[in-house]
Symmetry: C2
Subunit: 140 residues, 2 copies
DNA sequence: GCTTAACCTAAAGTTAAGTTTAGGTATTTG
DNA sequence: CAAATACCTAAACTTAACTTTAGGTTAAGC
């Protein structure tokens, strides 16, 4: 009985993730996609595991982690259970970092919301003159 | 009667914002700080207005806006009421962009939270073996 | 009057994260 | 079989956002 393993071409993966072909090749070259293999012709074939790595890469990139650190993490996964504590610590620190970023984002959004109101009124008035004095009290 | 206007040196401003001196000079050179003047000796003196510009720069940077666009905004402020609609539109678009970023951040945080639990259990177990199978169902 | 600290400019250098270029292979399609 | 399509590599290039370097001025303290 044959086990059917579905794999994907780099083009399909690029489409799926909205990444360019060179970007995916660059990630591979940098060691961000462990166990990514090539067929007899030297063409990359992506397994579900490799897709999973790319999903994790996207997550870590979104968290603001540099490529170098993502590579480190992927190398740790290759070390198996010996690196579990390092990976655990990494995610705990990342969690704190992301929470801080979200807090900063919220403050930024508050300022932008204020500016939307401010410029909304100013646009209505046709001038900044009045709104500048009225709304100045709320935001020193 | 003399009007006393307090101004700040570049060093004081750098300290206040946690920016380096070259960074502030760079922002000035790029036109990000409108109406920033120098004294007779050619030394920058920052007014409250200039401080306000730097606060806005920090906000816009946090929102992910590139220097080029921040410069554009600052040039608009120099045009006065004629550019009110452009500035209003800018902040409305920025608001949408930041909301999207926050949503992405929240998804990222959810994934990281899951990984924290995952690796917490794995670290406890001393192996990924069990947790891999148990928690796989929740996150395909 | 000399040194130290705080500022100045212009120009070159750095880093991250890709992108572009140039030249080549393998497979399907008219 | 010719041509289009999808892939490959290595190396050079790009861009943003600073940073570093080198050389110079000014004001304050000893």
């Amino acid at each position: 009985m044959q086990e059917m393993i579905t794999t994907y071409s780099i083009g399909e993966v690029a489409e799926k993730f909205g990444l360019s072909l060179p970007t995916i090749r660059y990630y591979d070259k940098e060691g961000l996609i462990p166990n990514l293999n090539k067929n007899e012709a030297g063409v990359r074939r992506f397994t579900e595991e490799n897709i999973g790595s790319l999903q994790m890469i996207e997550c870590l990139k979104n968290a603001g982690m540099p490529i170098r650190d993502i590579k480190q993490f992927m190398q740790w996964t290759l070390e198996g259970d010996a690196s579990l504590d390092k990976r655990y610590q990494m995610f705990q620190e990342l969690r704190v970092s992301v929470l801080k970023q979200m807090e900063a984002m919220q403050n930024t959004l508050n300022t932008i919301d204020f500016k939307c109101k401010y410029y909304g009124q100013a646009t209505e008035d046709g001038t900044e003159k009045y709104v500048k004095k009225e709304m100045h009290l709320e935001r020193p």
